[in-house]
């Protein structure tokens, strides 16, 4: 519960997202706007799901006990579904916006759908991560002992790693989801929804952190490779990139110097 914990957990959770933002989004104003709109859509989805949970809780009379836990589980599952619905809504909005931009600006190519998929995924992920972790972070600055009542002392670390994996998963889900929508293929959509439900459902097993965290971290590279191949990558392009033989990329990076 010191500055070390605060900074350590903050950088674990938000370091990769910050790096992604600085290197890929911050350079182009249009991408920043799409990122913030994506974050806004996630926020609205959270609002709607909170409303649903609140209504459900009021209807069942605000009783304590096991029904509270069931209502929470219901709330989590509904929230995941609503998030994916809003991801779809954002896809529709971007499609319309892209068409609008194309008719007005025919010669200048706007951002491609793949790029928007990545940006929207990152927007969703950042907002989701921030909302779930910032309060915990601010508590970690203050005095206290973690797990003094018998809970796990690794609460902060677990939350930080979980936040990180969810942010990355949102990025991959966004790419896969938009690609599925573009190709009118419903299987990727179903896969995204199911993996999202799975990752959230795994957290029901907390405080057994091992299961939820390890499984989430196993799902993440799978989704990552799927997103990589969906976005146009291939083993050859990866090899070329790693061995610095990718002429296009080298030329591009040289040009920007």
């Amino acid at each position: 519960m010191t500055a070390a914990v605060f900074f350590g957990c903050a950088f674990i959770a938000f370091g990769p997202a910050l790096a992604l933002y600085v290197f890929t989004i911050a350079t182009d104003p249009l991408r920043i706007i799409f990122l913030i709109v994506g974050a806004f859509f996630w926020l609205i989805s959270l609002l709607v799901s909170s409303l649903v949970w609140f209504v459900a809780r009021t209807v069942t009379g605000n009783r304590d006990g096991p029904i509270e836990k069931y209502l929470l589980i219901f709330g989590v599952l509904i929230s995941v579904l609503i998030q994916e619905i809003f991801r779809f809504a954002y896809y529709k909005l971007l499609k319309k916006a892209n068409e609008g931009l194309k008719t007005i600006n025919p010669d200048e190519p706007g951002p491609s759908m793949r790029l928007l998929a990545y940006v929207s995924g990152l927007g969703f992920g950042i907002m989701s991560g921030v909302f779930s972790f910032v309060n915990i972070l601010s508590d970690s600055l203050g005095p206290g002992t973690v797990g003094i009542h018998g809970d796990s002392p690794y609460f902060f670390l677990y939350s930080a790693f979980m936040t990180l994996v969810i942010i990355l998963l949102h990025v991959f889900w966004g790419i896969v989801f938009f690609d599925g929508c573009e190709k009118k293929n419903w299987h990727p959509l179903l896969a995204v929804i199911l993996t999202h439900l799975l990752v959230s459902a795994l957290t029901f097993l907390n405080p057994q952190y091992e299961i939820s965290l390890v499984l989430a971290y196993m799902i993440m590279p799978l989704m990552g490779t799927w997103a990589f191949f969906v976005a146009g990558g291939s083993r050859r392009s990866l090899k070329r990139y790693l061995l610095c033989q990718d002429k296009d990329f080298l030329l591009y990076s040289q040009r920007s110097r």
Binding site: I32, I33, L51, I104, N105, F131, Y158, S200
Partner: protein, 448 residues
């Protein structure tokens, strides 16, 4: 608290600042076709006007914005969109900075969340036991505050109509003096108290004097654009902190809502005071006082040699001589900067062409009220960061939408209504719906 609330002008001046406009290029000179683009793109003037006095600033800008002749509509639209995203970000950054400063201060310095008195503009107390009485008091407070603002606006319109420029100028200087010296002194004192750092009076005098003097020079006269922008952001943040401290809870929310409605009416209704100011300025063919307007304009002059096309002329440093902004009132200097272009040395027959790219302008009042909303969310959100972040995102989205509307309608638009509406909706819904949900999730360590 009566002492620094005595100066109406300062308070009023600081109250209004809701103008959002894209910078205008001045009367276009003869340039090749391609050059016309950026100027056209900036044509849309958008302005939220609020409160007395500030109108002046807005009017000149609005006037300037709508008065440019000879635009090619297609080119203009394309360039509007091309420049659109960049301008949105040029406004996002200062708005974000102002909000960050306000939220950081609220969360760390206890002084600004302590209740110690109220402004004379909000005389009714909210310490009543019944909810109905409290609501009534806050509505009455709002009515008084709003009527003060309307009266001051009309007063400024009258002053402007009768060409009392010196009076307005003096008023603005007085208000910015107070902001830059007195409020900074108080702020510095509270920050030092919070962190338990000692500072002796000679050092304090030196620091405050330098800060204030440079601020006055930058804002009212000439100075580097970045420094000017930084001072305007700091001044807006200071003013927002004053409002957060001295406005009682419910009154603050009702005032925010009422100001947005007033902004909408004053800018869009035909008989609105701000609209009248614009028309007056247009009749007189005068440049409008920028006054309390944050400008992200970059002005440069490019000289091109006719005989020697390869030499692309001297690119002068971005310089914004006339974009002075008063922290409180709109005392205008001509809204577009005079071109400072010494003749290029070199071959005779060189043709000096000026191209100015204007940025976007946003009234300081907008900054202040956005920061008040986010600051209040941070102050009263029971230590909850989610509410603050939700309001922040909502305000940015509102600003984005307003700029989009500006690009579509190409006329003065108020900057407050959409952002404040989103901000209020998200504040109340996040505080009452999302917070319990997220807290319950966090206590069971569930992740959505």
């Amino acid at each position: 608290m009566l002492t620094f609330m005595a100066s109406d002008s300062e308070d009023d001046a600081c109250n209004e600042r809701t103008s959002l406009m894209s910078a205008e290029s001045p009367v276009p000179r003869s340039c090749p076709d391609g050059r016309q683009g950026p100027e056209d793109a900036e044509d849309a003037a958008q302005r939220g006007s609020r409160d007395p006095g500030e109108d002046q600033e807005e009017d000149p800008d609005r006037y300037v914005c709508s008065g440019v002749p000879g635009r090619l509509p297609g080119l203009e639209e394309e360039l509007t969109l091309k420049y659109g995203a960049k301008h949105v970000i040029m406004l996002f950054v200062p708005v974000t900075l102002c909000m960050v400063v306000v939220v950081a201060t609220i969360k760390s310095v206890r002084f600004y969340t302590e209740k110690s008195g109220q402004l004379i503009y909000t005389p009714f107390t909210e310490d009543t036991p019944s909810v109905g009485q409290r609501l009534l008091n806050s509505v009455l407070n709002t009515l008084i505050m709003l009527s003060v603002i309307v009266v001051m606006t009309i007063f400024l319109v009258v002053l402007y109509k009768y060409r009392c420029y010196k009076f307005i100028h003096g008023w603005l200087i007085m208000s910015s003096l107070m902001l830059l010296f007195l409020f900074t002194y108080i702020y510095l004192g509270e920050v030092l108290k919070t962190y338990n750092v000692a500072m002796d009076y000679p050092t304090l005098l030196l620091v405050v004097w330098n800060f204030g003097a440079v601020g006055m020079v930058c804002v009212h006269w000439k100075g580097p654009l970045v420094l000017q922008q930084a001072y305007l952001i700091m001044v807006s943040a200071l003013m927002a902190l004053v409002f957060i401290k001295y406005l009682p809870e419910w009154s603050a929310w009702v005032i925010l809502g009422a100001i947005s409605v007033y902004d909408l009416m004053a800018v869009l209704c035909p008989k609105g005071p701000l609209r009248m100011l614009v028309e007056t300025a247009q009749e007189r063919n005068e440049p409008i006082f920028p006054a309390l307007i944050y400008s992200s304009a970059m002005v440069w002059t490019v000289g091109m040699a006719k005989l020697d096309p390869s030499s692309q002329g001297a690119l002068q440093l971005p310089y914004d001589p006339e974009m002075e902004e008063d922290s409180c009132d709109s005392l205008g200097e001509p809204s577009y900067p005079e071109v400072l272009a010494p003749p290029l040395p070199g071959s005779p027959g060189e043709e000096l062409e000026e191209e100015e790219e204007r940025g976007v302008k946003l009234g300081l009042g907008d900054f202040i009220f956005y920061s008040v909303l986010v600051g209040k969310a941070a102050a009263t959100g029971s230590g909850d960061w989610n509410t603050t972040l939700a309001c922040f995102v909502a305000i940015l989205i509102g600003l984005c939408l307003t700029l989009l509307l500006l690009a579509v309608f190409k006329k003065a638009l108020p900057a407050l209504p959409i952002s404040i509406a989103f901000g209020l909706i998200f504040y109340f819904s996040t505080d009452n719906l999302v917070r319990p949900f997220m807290d319950t999730l966090a206590s069971h360590q569930l992740h959505i």
